[in-house]
């Protein structure tokens, strides 16, 4: 009985509605957390798995020895490798292609690689505008590696003791 009366009073004084309005009214004045994306960026973990890159040794020699472990381990079959014997007798890749549409960014290729050649950088802001751009060729991968070597090395350094 008392409960019913309280309920009736509450519903006719719009009690709950005012409580709701008060809550949103409070949030109106709260500090906003929005990150203004192109100008501001959220911090990225060194473990972030973004765009791929192929690394080189400090002397400029490419690391990849065409062992095809990455190709074998890739769960999405995104990597295609062709190998040949180079003039100096070492085994190298003739072509090394990653299809970004197939890749699931699992990072298994990086884990499988015995010489730390294929790595996943922390870059996530890239886009594919034309058909065919989704295939990362060996040249592109090496270029990405050259460009971001410092960052890549720093991230590996930081994460090294957990590997």
């Amino acid at each position: 009985m008392v409960k019913t009366i309280i309920r009736i009073i509450k519903s006719f004084t719009l009690w709950e509605l005012f409580a709701g309005l008060l809550l949103t009214g409070k949030y109106f004045w709260k500090r906003k957390f929005t990150v203004q994306f192109p100008e501001e960026k959220t911090p990225v973990s060194p473990r972030f798995r973004g765009l791929h890159a192929l690394r080189r040794y400090p002397n400029g020699e490419e690391r990849c020895i065409a062992c095809k472990l990455c190709e074998a381990v890739c769960p999405a079959l995104a990597i295609t490798i062709d190998s040949e014997q180079r003039a100096d007798g070492s085994r190298r890749t003739k072509s090394y292609e990653i299809d970004l549409f197939k890749c699931i960014y699992c990072g298994m290729c990086e884990e499988a690689c015995p010489v730390d050649s294929i790595v996943l950088t922390d870059m996530s802001h890239y886009h594919i505008a034309e058909r065919g751009e989704n295939i990362l060729t060996k040249e592109k991968l090496l270029a990405i590696g050259d460009k971001y070597e410092e960052q890549i090395a720093a991230a590996r350094e930081e994460e090294g003791r957990y590997r």
Partner: protein, 342 residues
């Protein structure tokens, strides 16, 4: 009256119309901007901030975008009515502004039956929605417009009854006179003596404009966008304009009927009254409109949409009985000049 006099009068009327329509349109633009900002702030977001300082020109950018878009008329639509419907929804939304007194004597058409005119115009907007739903030949649009029609019928009654209370209290149908009848300070405004009617009118006003939490006619999550689902480009833009100018209109009407229109809230307070005597009435009126417009956005940010049957229940079983009872109370009070207000 000879011809030249008639022409001069006509020119004055056209100028008056322009002087009303332009601020209303600017108000609508500012309102859409405010809506996005206020909603964003209540969601702990920032809202549009790219176009111009603080994103202030965002509505202009939106308008340009809408103007550029193609108007697609569905092949199975009734083309004439399809095009007519947005016109029918915006025309009454703008026409109703003709009788709004913005300050003492600042009114385009000071007609005696102002309230009736306003009621007629706000109800007329339902035709635009109904016809758009029917002409689109789409089930979502039809559902939206049917819901809107049923809702309008239900809330129109409560709205009308609430206004009957105002008429009884003011003893007039003229909007300026209703405002003047409220003079004498903030506690003489009708929001206090007619508190239940004020609340009912506010709720039915929100429902009448199909705004959250009564926006089942649009109901994005159930029927996509309701009655204007088939509209694109500026045809949609016109519906949009109509909706927002209707909201401004209801805000203005609530201020007129229950919050003393252009009257200063400081009336009757010694000292303050004379200090603020220089503030023109239209400023007070604007402040009241802005307050109610903000309330619209606040409600939208706060309440989830009512279910359709709940809307009907609220309209028929709660609001209408309350207004009926309160009309009797007001009538008795007004008849026997009961203190403190009559």
């Amino acid at each position: 009256m000879n011809l030249s006099q008639a022409i001069i009068e006509l020119i004055w009327i056209v100028l008056g119309i322009i002087a009303i329509i332009v601020p209303v349109m600017i108000g609508v633009l500012a309102f859409t901007y405010a809506e996005r900002k206020v909603l964003a702030f209540m969601h702990v977001r920032i809202g549009p901030n790219r176009v111009g300082p603080f994103g202030f020109f965002q509505p202009l950018a939106d308008a340009i975008k809408l103007l550029h878009k193609e108007i697609i008329i569905p092949a199975v639509a009734d083309k004439f009515i399809f095009i007519l419907a947005p016109v029918l929804s915006i025309a009454p939304a703008l026409a109703a502004w003709a009788v709004i007194p913005f300050a003492q004597g600042w009114v385009l058409a000071n007609i005696n039956a102002g309230i009736l005119y306003v009621l007629a115009m706000t109800s007329f907007g339902a035709y635009g929605i109904l016809l758009s739903g029917w002409a689109s030949n789409s089930k979502y649009a039809l559902f939206g417009s049917l819901r809107s029609a049923a809702q309008m019928v239900a809330y129109e009654i409560a709205m009308g009854f609430a206004l009957i209370g105002v008429m009884l209290a003011a003893g007039s149908l003229n909007l300026s006179q209703i405002v003047l009848a409220q003079s004498g300070g903030i506690w003489h405004w009708y929001w206090l003596p007619l508190l239940p009617l004020f609340v009912v009118y506010l709720i039915s006003g929100v429902s009448e404009t199909n705004r959250a939490p009564f926006d089942v006619a649009e109901g994005e999550s159930e029927i996509v966008a309701g009655y204007h689902v088939e509209y694109g480009g500026m045809a949609f833009g016109v519906f949009f304009l109509a909706e927002y100018s209707n909201m401004l209109l209801i805000s203005a009407l609530v201020s007129l009927f229950f919050l003393g229109g252009w009257l200063s809230p400081l009336q009757g307070i010694p000292g303050l009254e004379t200090w603020f005597a220089w503030v023109p009435g239209v400023i007070w009126f604007l402040i009241k409109i802005i307050f109610f417009s903000f309330l619209y956005l606040w409600l939208r940010a706060t309440f989830p949409r009512y279910r359709y049957d709940q809307i009907m229940r609220l309209g028929w079983k709660v609001l209408i009985p309350i207004t009926l009872i309160w009309i009797v109370v007001v009538a008795v009070a007004a008849r026997f000049n009961l203190p403190p207000w009559w």
